[in-house]
């Protein structure tokens, strides 16, 4: 488990599951979840994050620093058998208890760090990567951050640390969907040129289409020295025409039957 031959179909399937779950739960962050589906599907199903069948645990670490999008991992963890299917089924059903919630935490199997407040995950990933490097432990650390986390000073503090300590086992994936809650990053407070800024740390930055599975795979396999950074240009709400590139779909919105039908058709 769980190398799939048809990743595009799998991405569609996960989007379907997640959309139906959002409908049930009635809250969450669909825009941010759907923008990173191809990224996490490639990480897990192309074995970049290695799975140990004997322990039913992942060997490598992944931190979804943009904690509001951790939900994207739940169907994947369910597929690997790390999360009990009952937990998934119970979520959104008010009469049943579940460990799942909008923001991930370490009480959920497969979630390596509690997140929700932005700007923490990269530092935590640095701590793990530092330790594995020092102790020569063969584990990689993947940290998915939103470009919005580049507004947090602690992210830049962690980048300094990663550069100074040459954390070759650290992989930073920036989900660049260009939207934050109040609008585009360009309009609110410009972040660009992100690539140039990150390259200033001496890191190799692959600027790719974050929905192109081939480009993601190539970037993840790119053998480079030092910290690997993938700047993945994505579309917020990818896959759903009513949500794509709409800042207001950062959060789940009330949705009528017609819109539900449109969404279901979008992912047929």
């Amino acid at each position: 488990m769980k190398k799939h031959n048809n990743l595009p179909e799998l991405c569609k399937n996960y989007r379907k599951q997640l959309f139906e779950k959002f409908l049930e739960v009635g809250q969450g962050h669909p825009g941010s979840v759907f923008s990173m589906i191809e990224l996490v599907v490639t990480l897990f199903h192309n074995s970049h994050i290695r799975f140990d069948k004997n322990t039913n645990k992942f060997i490598d670490k992944i931190i979804i620093s943009k904690g509001h999008a951790t939900v994207a991992l739940y169907p994947i963890l369910k597929e690997f058998g790390v999360i009990d299917i009952k937990e998934w089924d119970n979520w959104g059903n008010k009469n049943n208890e579940t460990i799942l919630r909008v923001f991930g935490n370490t009480s959920i199997p497969g979630i390596d760090a509690t997140s929700g407040s932005l700007g923490h995950g990269l530092g935590i990933g640095c701590g793990l990567a530092y330790l594995y490097k020092k102790q020569k432990i063969d584990k990689k650390v993947y940290v998915v951050i939103s470009e919005g986390e580049l507004y947090e000073g602690s992210t830049w503090e962690a980048l300094l640390f990663a550069a100074h300590n040459k954390l070759e086992n650290l992989n930073i994936i920036i989900d660049e969907n260009s939207l934050i809650i109040l609008g585009t990053t360009d309009d609110c407070l410009r972040l660009d040129p992100i690539k140039k800024k990150i390259e200033g740390f001496g890191f190799n930055v692959d600027h790719i289409d974050g929905h192109n599975l081939e480009q993601i795979e190539k970037a993840l396999n790119n053998k480079i020295k030092g910290v690997k950074v993938i700047l993945a240009k994505t579309v917020k709400g990818k896959g759903f025409s009513i949500m794509e590139n709409k800042a207001n779909w950062h959060y789940w919105n009330p949705i009528d039957e017609k819109e539900i039908e449109i969404c279901r058709k979008d992912i047929e």
Partner: protein, 307 residues
């Protein structure tokens, strides 16, 4: 020359590092003579995080997630308030043991001014779920905290003074460190119980000396969690005076009253602390303590008034 509390504490950690390589000491560019030994002799277990308190806690959280015993070290005002959300969302929320070593509490950096005062650190860290808080009144307590701290599986906030502190051993009775307090003088329900912690406690000694028939002192070196034995000690005591080098709201008085009321113990409680404002006047630490009635004569007068 009297050793500083930070050196006493770090000497003990260095001796533990000799056999326990799971200990990691992190600094946000704050030093000590004994930290130089850590950096030299145990360099694989020392991490300089830059002047980056927030990243220090996130990085430390990564280490602690892998079972390492992390000590994060920096100046009191910055290690407490600058990174409090990292403390909350990292080790506190994930139930990871981590020791926050905070130096320069109260008005320790008197000549620097209020940016450098840690006069509300206690209230802030006390509010973080599951923290244990220790405050050293002298080197003996600083050493005992260091000896025991890594066995404590919570987020530990250890408050040390910047200045040399007088040894208070001559006034103490026998005590068990795990109870979190020691008594100076003889305990009686009919006496005023002065409760304090840290360097300011020495300013209460004059009251003990001059009013020994009417006063005893409790050095509450572990003020969170407060032990049942502490509450038992205060059961039936009618008058309590709490002395703390912190601003008024959320200081040691609040902690003591909250714990006593939880146990249905309701003595008369007077709070002696700093005002709810930032202090820009200068004249040194003792001048400021004097100005705000936290010097030994003012404390003595408060005791007399309470009689």
């Amino acid at each position: 020359m009297i050793k500083l509390q930070r050196d006493i504490f770090l000497d003990e950690i260095n001796s533990q590092l000799e056999k326990d390589k799971d200990i990691y000491v992190m600094s946000a560019d704050f030093g000590a003579a004994s930290l130089d030994i850590t950096r030299d002799k145990y360099k694989d277990n020392f991490i300089h995080c830059g002047i980056s308190e927030q990243a220090m806690f996130d990085i430390g959280t990564g280490l602690a997630l892998e079972g390492k015993k992390v000590i994060a070290y920096a100046m009191g005002p910055f290690i407490s308030l600058r990174a409090i959300e990292q403390i909350k969302c990292g080790p506190a929320m994930m139930n990871l043991p981590m020791t926050i070593l905070s130096v320069g509490i109260g008005l320790g950096y008197a000549d620097a001014g209020p940016t450098h005062y840690a006069t509300e650190d206690y209230a802030c860290l006390r509010a973080i779920g599951g923290t244990s808080i220790f405050t050293a009144s002298d080197n003996k307590i600083a050493k005992q905290i260091a000896q025991n701290i890594l066995n404590n599986k919570s987020v530990n906030y250890v408050r040390l003074d910047r200045h040399p502190t007088e040894e208070l051993k001559e006034y103490e009775n026998n005590y068990d460190f795990s109870d979190g307090f020691r008594i100076f003088g003889s305990h009686s329900k009919d006496k005023i119980a002065i409760i304090s912690h840290g360097r300011i406690l020495k300013n209460c000694i004059k009251s003990l000396k001059e009013m020994k028939d009417n006063v005893f002192i409790i050095d509450l070196f572990r003020s969170k969690p407060i032990s049942n034995k502490f509450c038992e000690t205060l059961k039936n005591v009618k008058t309590v005076l709490v002395v703390d080098e912190q601003t008024q709201y959320g200081n040691l008085t609040s902690a003591v009253q909250s714990e006593l009321s939880k146990n249905n113990i309701f003595p008369k409680v007077k709070n002696l602390s700093l005002p709810d404002e930032y202090i820009f006047k200068n004249g040194g630490r003792d001048f400021l303590l004097n100005l705000h009635k936290l010097d030994e004569d003012s404390i003595l007068n408060s005791c007399k008034e309470l009689l």
